[in-house]
Amino acid sequence: MTKPTAINVEGLGKQYRLGGSVGSYRTLRDTIAGAVSGAFSPKSEKKRAVVPTLWALQDVSFHVAQQEVLGVIGKNGAGKSTLLKVLSRVTSPTTGRVEMHGRVGSLLEVGTGFHPELTGRENVHLNGAIMGEKRADIKRKFDEIVAFADVEKFVDTPVKHYSSGMYVRLAFAVAAFMELEILIVDEALAVGDAAFQKKCLGRMDQAAKEGRTVLFVSHSMPALESLCSRVIWINNGTVVSDGDPRKVIGSYIESSNRDTGPREVGVYRNEGHRRGTGEVQFRDFRLSSDQGEPRSEFRMGDTIVAEVDFEVYADADSAVFNFNVVDAATGSVVTTWVGRREPKALSAGERGTFRIVLPQNSLRARRYYFNLGVASAFNNDMPFDIWAGGGTDFYVEYPEDLENLDLLVGHDSALVTLPVRTEFEIHD
C-alpha cells in the first residue's frame, strides 16, 4: 500500500531577473533614470531592453510520501537552494504548485534569528518562536534541548561569548526538537565536529522513524547514503534522476567528473568543485583499504588508499600532481603533498592513475575530503585540473581497542595523532 503523500510538487518553476540590477536592490535614481531614458528612446530600442531572466527551477515535479527521507543532490547553482526556499515559503514560485500536509519546519541555516547579545536561554525561546513553536512547548523541551547541545553551563551567557561549535550545536538542537511533521534541512550538518554530526544524523534518523518526513539537501554523499531512502538529483533547475540513493548518487558522481570532461583545452573554467584549464583531467576517484576493497569509512590506524584516474588532452612536459587532506568541518588542511620533485612527461591521449597511500593513518575521528590537483611545474597559477572535495570524502572512526593502538589519543580538538614514545625517569 502506498503511504499518504507529505509533499507534492507539480511543475514548479522559479524565474529570476538578471541584468542591470542582478539580485540587488535599486535606487530611486536608477528607476527615474530608466523611466526618463525609456521615454526618450525610440520604440525599437525599448524592445531590445528586455530584462534577461534565469529559470532557477523549471518544471520540477516529484512527490514525497510520509515518513520518507528524501535527499537532494546537485552541483552548486543547480537549483537546490531555490527549491528549498520555495518549499520553505521564503520566496514564491513563478509557476506550478506545491502541497504539503503537516507542520513544516525548515532549517536553511542554523541559528536563524539568533541574537549575539541574548543569552542561550533567550535565544532558544526566540528561535523556537521564529520557527512557529508555542512558548509552552519550548519551555517543556528546554532542558532536553540544552542537554542535547551540551551547553548546560552556559545557558545564561550571551551567545556572542559562545564558541562557534556551541553556537551551532544549540541552534541545531532547537530545530531538532521541534514537533514537525515535515523537516526541510539544508547542509546543517556540515558544521560541528564528527561526534556532533553523528548525533545530528542520529536525531534525523530518529525523526524519520517517528514518522516524520525529511527533505535533506547535502553535499555529503556518505550522509545522504546512510540517511535517505530516496534521492533526487537536480541539474540546471530540473530533476534529472529520482530513485535509489546508491544509484542516483553513483550516477551523479560519475557525471560530475565527466562534466568537466573532454572540452576546449587551454581555457580556464571554474565549475563548483572543479576548476582548471583541462590539459590533464581527473576522472574517477576511488577509496579503498590496503586489501583493495572499496570503502569510505576507515578506522584510525587503517591504511587509506585513494586512486584517481586521469586523461591527458594535450602534451604536458612536466605535470606535477599534488593532494591535500582537509578536515571537512573546519576546512583545515591536515596533510599535504606536492610532487614537485617528480614531474611527469605526459602526452595527449594517455590515461593513467594517481595513487595515494596513507599508511596507518593517524587521523582523528571526523569527516575529511581529498583535494586533488594537477598542474604544470612552471605554472602553478593556472592548474590543469583541481578537484576540491565533492565525492572525495571519507570518515575516520576510532578503533574499538584504543588502548592497543600505539598512538596518542589526547584532547579531542587536535587534528591528528602522531606516533609517540614517552619515557619516565625518576631521579632521587
Binding site: 499518504p4 520553505s88 514564491s92 502541497e99 504539503m100 536563524t112 526566540l126 518562536a129
Partner: protein, 281 residues
C-alpha cells in the same frame, strides 16, 4: 493517497505563484502572535544591553529634549503654551511624538534589518514592522511616569480624561505603523528610503504641535489641512487628556480618517510587495 488517509488532522500548506493584489490574511498574524511578542521583546532586551546607563536612556532622551525645547522655544522664542508651564506643555507632546517617531524609524528600516530572517524562514512578514512599532511601548511607559512626576511638581492634577491616554497611544502607534509599512516595503527595493527617514521625521516634527500649540494655526481651511497630519490630533489629544481644556475632537476625527486610509493602503501595498522581499532584500 487521499487526505482522509491522514490520521492526524494537521494543516495543509499550498504554495502557488502569487501575482497582483492578495488577501491580507490577518488571521495568520493571530497564529503567530507569540512571535510578535518575542521579536518585540528581543528589540527591547537588546536596546540597552552593553550601555552604561541602561534603561535610564528611556528617561534621558525625552527629558533632555524637553530641556532644550524649554530653553529655545519656551524662554528664547517665548512661544505661547496654552497657559501651561512650558516644560509640561512640551513634555506632554514629546512623549507621543517620540513614541511615534521611534516606531516609524524602526519600522521603516525593519525589513532590511531583518534580511537574515526574510531569506531563511517563513512567517507573516507583517510581524516585522508590527513588532518594531510595539517595541517603543516600554520606553513610553517609563517616560510617562516621569511626566506624571513633572506634572505633580507643577501642581497639575490629571482628570478623568487621562483614561483616553491608551486610546491615543494606540492611535499614535497605528499612525507609525501606517507610514512604517509603506516605508519598510519601499526600503527593500529602494535603499534611498533609509536616508530619507531622518529628514522625514524632522520635517514631520515641525509640522506637528510638539514645540508649539496647534491653536497658533488659524481656524478654517488651514486648520483642516493641518489636521491631515495624524500626529496633530494625537498630540493635542494627549495634552488635553492630561491637562484638561477643550477636547480637540474635530482634529482627532480628521486624523483618524487619514490614518485609516494610510493603514489600509499600507497593508495591501505591503502584502503585494511581500513576495519579492526575499529575492530583492
Amino acid at each position: 493517497m487521499t487526505a482522509t488517509a491522514r490520521s492526524d488532522s494537521s494543516q495543509t500548506v499550498v504554495i502557488e505563484p502569487s501575482t497582483g493584489w492578495v488577501a491580507l490574511k490577518l488571521g495568520e498574524l493571530w497564529q503567530y502572535r507569540e512571535l510578535i511578542y518575542f521579536l518585540t521583546w528581543r528589540d527591547i532586551q537588546v536596546r540597552y544591553r552593553q550601555t552604561a546607563l541602561g534603561v535610564a536612556w528611556a528617561v534621558l532622551q525625552p527629558v533632555l529634549t524637553m530641556l532644550i525645547f524649554s530653553v529655545v522655544f519656551g524662554k528664547l522664542a517665548n512661544l505661547p503654551s496654552d497657559g501651561l508651564p512650558y516644560p509640561v506643555f512640551s513634555f506632554a507632546a514629546l512623549l507621543p511624538w517620540q513614541l511615534f517617531s521611534g516606531a516609524l524609524t524602526r519600522a521603516g528600516t525593519s525589513l532590511v534589518g531583518s534580511a537574515n530572517l526574510l531569506t531563511k524562514v517563513y512567517f507573516p512578514r507583517l510581524i516585522i514592522p508590527i513588532s518594531a512599532v510595539a517595541a517603543g511601548l516600554v520606553d513610553f511607559v517609563i517616560a510617562f511616569a516621569v511626566l506624571i512626576v513633572l506634572m505633580l511638581y507643577y501642581g497639575i492634577r490629571p482628570g478623568v480624561a487621562i483614561l483616553w491616554v491608551p486610546v491615543l497611544v494606540a492611535f499614535s502607534l497605528a499612525s507609525a505603523l501606517a507610514v512604517g509599512l509603506w516605508l519598510s516595503a519601499l526600503n527593500v527595493k529602494y535603499r534611498d528610503v533609509q536616508h530619507l527617514i531622518p529628514f522625514l521625521v524632522m520635517a514631520w516634527m515641525y509640522a506637528s504641535p510638539v514645540a508649539y500649540s496647534a491653536n497658533m494655526i488659524p481656524h478654517g481651511k488651514w486648520r483642516l489641512l493641518y489636521s491631515l497630519n495624524p500626529m496633530t490630533g494625537v498630540i493635542q489629544g494627549f495634552r488635553w487628556a492630561l491637562t484638561g481644556g477643550e477636547p480637540p475632537s474635530e482634529m482627532i476625527i480628521v486624523s483618524g480618517v487619514v490614518v485609516l486610509v494610510l493603514l489600509t493602503g499600507g497593508l495591501f501595498y505591503f502584502r503585494r510587495m511581500e513576495r519579492i522581499f526575499a529575492d530583492v532584500v
